[in-house]
Amino acid sequence: MSKSFEPVIVGFTCNWCSYRAADAAGTARVKYAPNVRLIRLMCSGRLDPTFVMKALAGGADGVLISGCHPGDCHYIDQNYKALRRFLLLRRTLKGFGIEPERIKLVWASAAEGVQLAREIDSFVEDIRKLGPLNWPKWDSNGHAAEKQPVMEVTA
């Protein structure tokens, strides 16, 4: 491992488009930064904002959210709801003192493996510039602790 800062990014992908775009990138052997770890949801509309908070609290330096292009949603228009939540999340993050650029929304169709790979690469570089999130870790009594996440996100 190199000594430079290697961001950890959690990515939420839609089962119908961006997860398949990741498949397509793989099949075509398109290379991209290994910093992203993907979670498959059925739809970007399934993205509960607490997922993003949980990922950031758990040590991720950035969160990628991806869904079908506007108008192409497998569930008609649920990606618009993801867009709404994304915009709200950025404002919320700002309120927490976290750079809103740590979350990124990417539309990627199942055919766009190369595009998704390039978006991942550029996002990794963006986060690398921002540096580690370095969220202080606290225990439940409000004392600084090593392993406790900053907030308890419950289901």
Binding site: D23, R46, H74, A111
Partner: protein, 659 residues
């Protein structure tokens, strides 16, 4: 949790093992994921092989595994394989998960140490997640046996006939006045040189009069709702101004109509038609259509010649668009293609130089029922050309227009070379980039055209001009092309130039795709579920594609696809019910506060509010499992099977293990 989890790491030959330390991942899982419940961790050369599957089945039976995690390829490839294997061993299939360490790791990364670490993280995420997986049962919904076929070209006709002949009802919707599609416009078909109409029209007639086919021409699909097995479709029947029940198709109205306009559709702008018209003699159905924007009566309030002479009083100027509502179980889209507009390449002079023709114009010119009665003549209607140049790849294999090869133009151009020679004896030049003649009897046809004495010039045409440089070029079209085989620029004087234009996705393909819930690839064609193994189905269950809707195809391939799509639909119909993934949202009514936040989120109207109880309920038959309402519920009262909050949270924890 007390779960017993088995982890299986696949080498996939060297596909995974070449970039990921498979044994390392296996041992790491055994050591570090034991407290999550991993009791056995194995690797195998090919997990998807029967021996690999047996390994899992044996462990389930002997070790009493309650969860299985396979780190291999994408779940879209082998999830079903491993879930079925688990089921055979008595484990509910939904307790088995796949981790994609091939598509998402070994194939896309280049550092083995990093790739191995990422594989461990992905594996840990799924191990933590699978603990919260629930045993689920597949949902079964009945299939409506009716089918909608959109597009009445040869692919759509074939699909409709196959299904109708099997005894099930088909609604065949076509937006033009007649079925037949592009094939009806052609004169001859390559490589056999059969008359296109002779082989197509019997199929058209069969479709038109089939008791199991409801033919809806001059009609378009307005809206689609529902899901596989149970679609509800609204079809707009555009006003024909002809009462179909009364019309006998005698054609007197067409004869008496005093107005002629350029026919941009069937005659490709090359010929004229009346304002009330049937597009061609063998049209099915043979009722005419009145072209309202060009009709003298609709413009000036006078004329009505058609009405006066109609012997059965079938003309109705007050007719309005009608809307039809039909229920179908499956939909086949055979919406075809558009032709490339060569005006986009100004240096080829189409539209400016009268004797530059498109391939479709030339098809109509060759056709005995076309504007020139089948005579190959120049725009003046009488001069027979002495020299004809056929330009290949117009708008295809060109970075400026379409990168792809349109597939059919080489053979079409060879056919034109033959027809020009046969009918005029002219010198024929084919300017090509590469000759592509890959299917049955195609190369033999190319050989035949070579033997007929057609000249072949290997080079992309730079320009077509009427500006002569030497007296011999006066009054001619000059085709400037680099002959790359002799390494020289050539200027070929010609009387006629035929542009073999490429084929493109329909201009409204994207909107149509959105209407039916399917998406287009980068070049605009509809995407198949799998380009090789599943070419006629799409990501949306119950929506199939056939013919050129998914990419350029010749007639045999379009027919095969129409039949293949029909076979898929028949398979579904005969099963009488369709299995659906049990990914659904449910409301815990004890937790629901009745805030109604979720009520407006569902595009499938699956959510309703029960006033008496002040709670929300979700109809599982309508729910499609997107999970948007689950994410929105502030009380956490809605849970989504397969993708519950607990599962996702655990997966996030696992992915970030050690970060």
């Amino acid at each position: 949790m007390g779960e017993k989890i088995g982890v299986y790491v696949c080498h996939c030959g060297t596909n995974i093992a070449g970039m990921v330390d498979v044994e390392g991942v296996r041992d790491w899982a055994k050591d570090h994921l034991a407290e999550d419940g991993v009791v056995v961790s194995r690797d195998y050369k090919f997990m998807c092989s029967s021996l690999g599957q047996e390994l899992i089945e044996k462990d389930i039976k002997e070790l009493g595994l309650t969860r299985v995690v396979v780190a291999a390829c994408s779940p879209h490839l082998h999830e079903k394989t491993f879930r079925t294997a688990s089921e055979r061993a008595g484990l509910n299939p939904y307790l088995t998960e796949l981790v994609s360490i091939r598509e998402q790791v070994s194939w896309v990364h280049t550092d083995k140490a990093v790739a191995t670490e990422k594989s461990k993280a992905l594996l840990a995420g799924t191990v933590e997640r699978v603990v919260y997986n629930e045993a689920l049962e597949k949902l079964k919904v009945p299939i409506n046996p009716n089918t909608l076929v959109v597009g009445g070209g040869i692919a759509g006709i074939q699909a409709a006939l196959e299904i109708a002949n099997a005894g099930f009802h088909v609604y065949l919707v076509e937006r033009e006045p007649s079925i037949g599609g592009h094939m009806a416009q052609f004169d001859k078909t390559f490589p056999t040189l059969d008359c296109s109409a002779c082989i197509l029209t019997p199929r058209m007639v069969e479709a038109g009069y089939h008791p199991n086919i409801t033919l809806l021409t001059w009609s378009e699909v307005e809206s689609v709702s529902g899901y596989v097995g149970n679609f509800n479709v609204t079809i707009k029947k555009k006003a024909r101004y002809v009462i179909e029940e009364l019309c006998t198709g005698c054609g007197i109205c067409v004869e008496k109509c005093p107005m002629k306009v350029v026919d941009d559709a069937f005659e490709a702008g090359f010929g004229k038609r009346k304002v009330i018209y049937t597009p061609f003699a063998q049209a099915v159905p043979n009722y005419p259509v009145l072209d309202k924007p060009n009709c003298t009566y609709f413009k000036n309030g006078k004329c009505k010649a058609c009405e006066k002479f109609c012997p059965t009083n079938a003309i109705d100027f007050t007719q309005e668009d009608k809307y039809l509502n039909v229920d179908v179980g499956n939909i086949i889209l055979a919406t075809g293609y558009d032709l490339f507009d060569p005006r986009r390449i100004p240096q080829y002079g189409y539209g400016r130089l009268p004797d530059v023709y498109t391939s479709m114009e030339f098809e109509r010119m060759c056709n005995a029922s076309g504007p020139t009665d089948g005579n190959v003549v120049l725009r003046d209607g009488k001069t027979v050309p002495q020299t004809v140049v056929i330009v290949h790849c117009v708008g295809s294999r060109d970075e400026n227009y379409n990168q792809y090869c349109s597939g059919i133009c080489c053979m079409q151009s060879l056919k034109f070379a033959h027809l020009v020679k046969e009918r005029t004896g002219a010198e024929v030049y084919n300017c090509y980039i590469d000759m592509r003649t890959p299917f049955k009897d195609y190369e033999e046809f190319y050989k035949r055209i070579l033997d007929e004495g057609t000249h072949f010039v290997r080079g992309k045409v730079a320009e077509i001009t009427d500006a002569a440089r030497i007296p011999a070029e006066e009054g001619k079209l000059i085709v400037q092309v680099e002959d790359t085989l002799i390494g020289k620029q050539r200027r070929i004087p010609a009387d006629m130039v035929i542009l073999s234009i490429g084929i493109e996705p329909r201009a409204d393909a994207k909107q149509t795709g959105q209407l039916f819930g399917i998406s287009c690839s980068a070049s605009g064609w509809y995407m198949e579920r799998h380009p090789k193994l599943d070419p006629v189905t799409t990501m949306t269950e119950g929506i199939l594609i056939a013919g050129c809707a998914s990419g350029p195809k010749d007639i045999p391939a379009s027919v095969s696809q129409g039949a293949a799509a029909a076979a898929r639909v028949l398979d579904k119909i005969l099963q009488k019910e369709v299995e659906m993934e049990p990914i659904r949202a449910t409301v815990d009514e004890d937790k629901c506060s009745g805030c109604k936040i979720c009520n407006n989120l569902c595009p499938f109207n699956a959510i309703s509010f029960i006033d008496d109880l002040a709670v929300t309920r979700i109809n599982p038959a309508l729910c499609q499992g997107c999970g948007t309402c689950v994410a929105a519920c502030p009380a956490g009262a809605i849970s989504g099977t397969g993708f519950s909050n607990e599962q996702i949270f655990a997966q996030i924890d696992g992915l970030l293990m050690g970060v």
